[in-house]
Symmetry: C2
Subunit: 358 residues, 2 copies
Amino acid sequence: MSEPRRIAVGSGDDAGVLWIGTGLLSDAARYLVSPSGRFLLVSSAGARGPADRIRRVLAGRVLADIEIDDREEAKNLDTVSRIADAAIEAGVRRDDALVAVGGGVVSDVAGFAAAILLRGIAWNAIPTTTGAMADAAIGGKTGVDHASGKNLLGAFHPPRAIVVDPEAAATLPDRDFRAGLVEAFKTAWIGDADLAGRAEGALERILRREEAALLDLLAGSARVKAEIVSEDPEEGDRRRLLNLGHTLGHAFEAAGGYRRLRHGEAVAWGIAAALEVSRERAGLPDADAARVRGVLRLLGPFPEPERDAAALGPSLSRDKKGTSRGTAGILLAAIGRGLIVDAIPLEEWLAAAARVTL
Amino acid sequence: MSEPRRIAVGSGDDAGVLWIGTGLLSDAARYLVSPSGRFLLVSSAGARGPADRIRRVLAGRVLADIEIDDREEAKNLDTVSRIADAAIEAGVRRDDALVAVGGGVVSDVAGFAAAILLRGIAWNAIPTTTGAMADAAIGGKTGVDHASGKNLLGAFHPPRAIVVDPEAAATLPDRDFRAGLVEAFKTAWIGDADLAGRAEGALERILRREEAALLDLLAGSARVKAEIVSEDPEEGDRRRLLNLGHTLGHAFEAAGGYRRLRHGEAVAWGIAAALEVSRERAGLPDADAARVRGVLRLLGPFPEPERDAAALGPSLSRDKKGTSRGTAGILLAAIGRGLIVDAIPLEEWLAAAARVTL
C-alpha cells in the first residue's frame, strides 16, 4: 500500500478530508470520522465487495446496515425515508455518523439522509465508481431527484471524510468506468491545464486502469474540485464552473428516461455541445476544442442522445443553475479555464444540442 | 398602526429580521424578502384570514398557492413532498422565496421544504399562533416528525424575514392562545428576569389580549431568542437552553398521541417537572420555582399528561438533545438563568414526570 495523499476540502463547519491511495479500504477505520465511534452503513448491491470490506473494518461499531438500490430511479425521498427509518429504529444519535459505500446515487441519497437526520449528522463517503471518486462524493452536494428533474431536492452537507481507493472500482464495468472519467476530465478542463494535458497523454494507460496514471487523474481532479468548493461552498459563480456540460447533460439524461445514457455519458454530450457555444461566446480556440473532443471520443463511443427540443426543453428551463433571468452558460475559454456567461437563451442550447456530434 | 420593532436574528448567511407590530400584515410586502420578487405561498386552513391578507398584498407575485394541513399528523415528509411538487410544477427557481403563513407546524414544514428545494431557497415566516410568534418561526429549526418522535428529520434554515402581527392571532381559540404563551414565558425564564417579572405582572392583561402587554411579551421573548440563536445558530450549549421543558414535553406529547396535549401544554408540564430537578441539581430557589409554577397555573389549567414510564421512556431515550452519553438536562438556576446539566439519568426524568403537579 502506497502512502495515501491527503486533500483538504472546505473549511470551518464544512471541513472534510479526502484520502486517496491504493489499498486504503483495508485501513478505512483510520480515516472514517464518527464523534461517537458508531456508524450507520449505507451501501448498494453493486458495491457489495467494498461494503463487505468496510463491514469487517468497522465490526462491532455498525449501528445499522442498510442496503439501497443504486439506480437513478431509487434516488428519491422514499429511499431517504427508508434510511431514516432504519437509523431512527436503531437509535441513532447526533454524535453518530453515516458511511456511504457506493456510486454517486448512494453518496447523494445517503449524504442527504445524513443532512436531515436529527437536523444533520456527520457522514463519510467511500466512492466505488470513477464518477463518484472524481465528482459526486466531493463538495457536499447531496440530494434526490423529482419526477420533473434531477437533484431538485437536497442539501449542502459535505462529508467529513472521503476515502478514495481505486481498488473499490476494480470490478466496475468498462462502460461505467469510462463514463465516470468524463467528470474527472471535466474538472481538469475547467481548472487545470497541466492536469488535462498529462491525463490526455496518459489516456490509454488510464483506460487500462494502470494504477499510477489513474491515481494521478483522480487525485488531480479531486484537488481541483476541492479547491473550488473550498472557495465557494454554496455555489456562487466559481463553483458553478463544475457544472460544465451539466445543463444540457441533465436534459439529455432526463429525455432518455435516465436509461439510455449514463450520467457521465450525458455530461460528455453536454460538454461537446458546450464547446460549440464556447467557440461563439468565450473565444475557445479550435485546437483546444479539438483536444477536448478527442478525449471524449476515446472515452466513448457513447450512445446517441435525444436531441428533440420538445424533449429537452422542459428540463432545461427548470435547470437549478438558472434564475428568473435565464439559463446559465458554463463555457470553456481555453483548456484549464472555465467561464460563466449568464442568461444564455434556451434556443442557443437547443440548437447546440441538435448539432452536436462526437 | 404603530411603528414596527425590528429585531435582527442571526448573522452572515443566516441573517434575518423579525418585524413585530400591530397591523403589519397589511403592509407585509414591505418586509417579505424574495430575490426574484416571486413567492410560493404555503398556508393552512386554520390561518385562512391572515393568508387572504397576504394573497392581497402579494397579488400577481404568487407563483404557487399551497394549502397544507396544520395538525401534527401532517408534519411529515409527504407534506414536504407535496409542497415541493407544487413548487417544481410551478417552475420555482433558486431566487424565488417561500412564505409560510400559519402556526408552528406550517413554519416547520414549509421552512423545511424551502431548505431542501433546489438545495435551499429563501423563506419568510408569518406566524399566526402565539406559539409560532414566540418560538417556532424564530431561529431556523425546520423539520418534520417521524413515527418514532418529533422533529427527527429537518434542517437549520432560518427565514429571511419574520413578520409578527398579533392581529394574525386574533381569532385563535383561547386554549391555543394560552398554550403558545408557555413558549414566550419559557424564553423569558431562561434568559431575561426583567421580562419574566414584567410579563408575570401583566399576565391578566396578556390573557385578555391587550395589545401593549402582549406585544411586550412577544417582542421581549423574540429578542431573547434572537440573541441566543445568533450566538449559537446550530445548537451548541447556549441554544439548548431554549429546550427547557422540551425533553419531557416531547415525551408527554408523544405519549398522548399528539392529541391529548397541545405542544405548549406539554412543554408546561415539562417545565413544571424540570423545576423539581432544578431544585435538586441547579439550586433553583423555592420562591422562583413557585413563581414559575404560578404563571403556568394561570396559563392553564392543562389536561393531565400521561405519566407512565413505559409510555414516556422510548421517546425520552430518543431525544435529539441526548448523545450516547445520556439525556441532556435543561434546568433553571433562577428566573432568568437557564443551566445545562449533561447526562441526567433517564430515571430521574421519569420520577419527576410521575410526581409533577400544576
